[in-house]
Symmetry: C2
Subunit: 291 residues, 2 copies
């Protein structure tokens, strides 16, 4: 149970969390805060939040749970604004796709032994965004990864876990660095590849024929190239080392495929492709419909 | 109307063509030929073909339309077997995913001015394969690309076009080289990327966590890595120059993304991604549900 939940950045993610917690009767009150009064009023009208303020210091007064769902570029300034007035027992948490960078931001403002920040990453989304797209069941059976630090208060972590569990989410924990590496491989790299594929095709002389004949495989493969470029720019900027590592590993691998094709090594190609097929088929079986 | 259609290789593609033409009452008789009598008997039992033979020369006797749907590796030998006995007015056609290589194979056996070969590529498929997966409506609203050569008899092309139209397919024509380049970009490259992505992830030290946390984006992106490795090996071997070209273009593009990430150039990243998103969104609108 949360007394006063504050959400900085009431979009799809924060809005859906608020709606889910409302259905679970988990919060006495939910306050939204951002710099857009029109947008926040809409969130009130939609029943997503109970009230709003444009003043971060006022927002966190008497708050026990604070969700930071603002773009990474705005994080540092926001943390500076709330630090002086954040109640001593309040818990800070976030919902960003990369963890190392936000941990560094919080550390810079609150100090290296600040124990009340619980980094979190709900792995959920919709093609639409914004508070109008928020739905209460967004997190049902979705994974939420928490990455508490060695010095994070276990009770704070437990409270963030309980909050997410109330939305129907499945909770997991990982170290910060592993999270960023795993997400780089499974989410960030595929997105970069999709953007790069579309970009490559756009620049080919046979562009018009290519776009006409692009078939179902192209559609699936590039679906994620319709993702929000602002969000993905920020992910690339905030997970640079891990993403560059996986890109390099991928480029090496793709180079090996090209070499096999160049050498017309049918057996090696077949073996590599058969192995990939088997791994992917096993993965689909293992994760079923929650994957 | 076809008098005697011969299908070499009665699998999903050839079998579905036969079923569609049966429904359209387009052929007097359909004969299957391969080296597997058990398989061919099954095709008869399933009502896909009327009869079969294991002897290619016997198969093409009195045939007016011959569909070559065998693996590329078997094509040369098969062509040698049917050349001496192929009726003068018979039409040869195929259904392979690459056109330059089969054109070369036919040219090698039949000569450079053989006018009765109409290269074709039905862009259709299912995740299942084999004659048991054949269905009569596989080609409805699917594109079939014909790539007649300058010396191909226009009447032969017209007859192949009529045959495919009877299945509900949408016919298009392209030059051979353009076909291979366009398919390299829109189909072959995405498949190689999907295989390479799965392969990359399999080889990372965080492999187990990676496979556990791979989310929906990974599933979509790698769906085509569950494709038949035999077929894809053959595609890579038979479309080598075009595929190597697009891989090189893609690697260059991916390198540019990596450089932007390394330089933390948020604006350039955003612009590239926004451009890709817009192109892909336009593409989805343009092709609708047939894409």
């Amino acid at each position: 149970m949360i007394n006063k939940l504050v959400i900085f950045g009431v979009g799809l993610i924060g809005g859906s969390l608020a709606l889910a917690l409302r259905e679970a009767h988990f919060c006495k009150t939910v306050v939204g805060c951002s710099r857009n009064a029109v947008h926040l009023q809409k969130a009130v009208d939609l029943g997503v939040i109970d009230s709003f303020t444009l003043d971060p210091a006022e927002a966190v007064r008497d708050a026990d749970m604070v969700l930071l769902a603002v773009p990474m570029g705005a994080m540092g300034h926001l943390l500076q604004q709330i630090k002086p007035v954040l109640p001593a027992d309040a818990i800070l948490t976030d919902a960003g796709s990369t963890k190392g960078s936000v941990v560094a931001e919080v550390e810079q403002v609150f100090g290296a032994d600040f124990s009340r920040f619980v980094p979190g990453h709900p792995i959920a989304g919709r093609e639409k965004s914004g508070v109008e797209a928020a739905i209460p069941d967004l997190y049902i059976d979705r994974r939420v990864i928490l990455t508490p630090l060695p010095h994070t208060d276990p009770q704070a972590t437990a409270k963030v876990e309980a909050m997410w569990k109330a939305t129907g989410a499945l909770l997991e924990r990982m170290p910060v660095a592993l999270h960023d590496q795993v997400l780089a491989a499974t989410s960030h790299l595929p997105h970069v590849l999709a953007f790069a594929l579309v970009d490559t095709l756009l620049n080919m002389p046979q562009r018009e024929d290519i776009l006409r004949y692009a078939a179902g495989g192209f559609r699936d493969f590039t679906r994620i190239a319709s993702s929000d470029p602002v969000m993905w720019r920020d992910i690339c900027l905030t997970n640079k080392p891990a993403i560059l590592d996986v890109i390099a590993a991928f480029q090496h691998n793709l180079g090996e495929f090209a070499a096999m094709i160049d050498a017309q090594d049918g057996e090696a190609l077949h073996n590599r492709m058969a192995k990939a097929k088997q791994a992917r088929d096993n993965y689909v079986i293992a994760v079923g419909s929650t994957g």
